[in-house]
Symmetry: C2
Subunit: 148 residues, 2 copies
DNA sequence: CTTACTGCAAAAGCTTTGCATCCGT
DNA sequence: ACGGATGCAAAGCTTTTGCAGTAAG
């Protein structure tokens, strides 16, 4: 059962390489991120770790996220009307599906993203370096509840 | 010189139809939006209108934006680390280019957006109703400054 | 040992809300 | 006249920052 540490190891290594230190709290935050495909919020991470670190501060979570952003080891999905969501499992830009009812965020089976991005990059006149592709709608579970 | 009022008229009509009233301030906010292809922030709108309405409150701008959102007559580009930007000229989802240096937002000559969106909608399992396609990079002007 | 990290509390930044008054319709 | 709009100020939420103490390397 030593599989699945790849992402964790990569994050730890990259942080160390950048001069960051790995405290027990930070290690657990990274582990939680590496094992959370649900694109958690900072608060959700904090909540999940409180049992293990009853004194952990939410600021510590944010500071770790800041370090990861600086390393390009986490993707931040910004929202102005709710908490940001994070994806440290796939830190490079890719499409997301966001439920307008329950807020769930998922990685859809991405189709020909490459081609689409390439064509826009070419036509834009901008020197594109990154992108964000969000799709809003009802997730499968909320669809059932509404019979849609 | 009566061209270009189409969007303004549509916004006014839609707001009226929803029971909203059109005050002089509100009319000017709508006019400013209809004539601003630069995706202004709420504060930018406020700033541009102050000469005409020295007592206008920023809250009034936000309240008008809220009414427009309710009517689907404005597109809101949310950000958590800077002010939201608004597009009332093209209120339906479409790609945007955002300059990571100066913050400029532009509508690129969109390519086959339809096909891309359709393919993702189909594969996602979500009942997609809307989307947001952002591309980040240097705008033409900032490219020159950096010789990129 | 040096310097980054932690936890707490305060601050910051943008958007929303409450309220009295004003004004569209 | 009725009920929405305005302006001001206060509140709200999420994220960031300052600081003294602690601990990683």
């Amino acid at each position: 059962m030593t599989v699945g540490n790849t992402r964790l190891d990569a994050m730890v290594a990259h942080l160390r390489r950048q001069g960051h230190r790995i405290s027990p709290q930070r290690l657990e935050i990274l582990r939680e991120l590496a094992g959370s495909p649900d694109h958690p919020t900072a608060e959700a991470l904090h909540r999940r770790l409180l049992p293990r670190f009853p004194a952990m501060s939410l600021a510590t979570v944010y500071k770790t996220i800041t370090a990861l952003k600086q390393c390009g080891e986490i993707l931040e999905l910004q929202f102005s009307d709710r908490e940001n969501r994070y994806d440290a499992i796939h830190p490079t830009p890719h499409p997301h599906c966001i439920c307008v009812e329950c807020g769930a965020v998922a990685d859809p089976p991405a189709p020909d993203t490459e081609r689409f991005v390439a064509s826009l990059v070419e036509a834009s006149g901008y020197a594109i370096s990154s992108h964000r592709l969000d799709f809003f709608g009802l997730c499968p579970r909320c669809r059932k509840k509404h019979g849609v």
